[in-house]
């Protein structure tokens, strides 16, 4: 605990904004990739209809769930790898 901001360096305003901005950007980036990827995987490009049919709709739902699960899985694996590398004392990838 710090009294009147003493004892511990406080992050500057700019640092705080940058931290939140970075988080929001990562979220937006995931979202954009998700949209592009599931559009590509689920929507055939012949455009005989302008609406989603049943199969395409279900595909989009499942694609979204799988994409987000994949994103979590990858981050878990990377974290585990990072920890393993850290325990060995060797230089990690990141």
């Amino acid at each position: 605990m710090s009294f009147l901001g003493l004892g511990r360096p406080q992050p500057t305003s700019e640092q705080k904004i940058a931290a939140v901005e970075g988080e929001m950007r990562m979220m937006a980036d995931t979202y954009n990739r998700l949209q592009a990827m599931c559009q590509k995987k689920c929507i055939p490009t012949d455009y005989r209809e302008g609406e989603l049919n049943k199969g395409e709709s279900v595909c989009l739902d499942r694609c979204t769930a799988k994409f987000l699960d994949t994103s979590i899985k990858v981050s878990e694996i990377m974290q585990a790898e990072g920890q393993a590398a850290g325990n060995q004392g060797g230089g990690g990838l990141f």
């Binding site: 305003s13 929001m24 998700l34 929507i43 490009t45 455009y47 302008g50 739902d61």
Partner: protein, 87 residues
């Protein structure tokens, strides 16, 4: 988010808005490219044919409904995550 002062939040919002404009322009460009690529491949005339125009119409509306659907699922997913964290 709640760690920021009001002034800081305003700065952040301004930055995000600028970004959103940029992203929207990017998405628009991508959509044009995608629908052109999917619908237009006959260059025996310089005007879009009725078949091509129809395809472009369907391409854009389908793109919009698909975006909407994925966006809804994405939000549901985030809400579920938030609920799990609160438990």
């Amino acid at each position: 988010m709640d760690m920021l002062t009001q002034a800081e939040q305003r700065t952040l919002e301004q930055r995000m808005q600028k970004r959103q404009v940029k992203e929207f322009m990017g998405a628009f460009g991508n959509l044009v490219e995608h629908c052109f690529d999917s619908c237009v491949d006959d260059f025996s005339s310089k005007a879009l044919s009725s078949r091509e125009t129809g395809c472009i119409n369907r391409c854009v509306s389908k793109w919009l409904v698909a975006q909407r659907r994925v966006s809804d699922r994405f939000q549901e997913h985030n809400q579920q995550l938030a609920q799990q964290m609160n438990k």
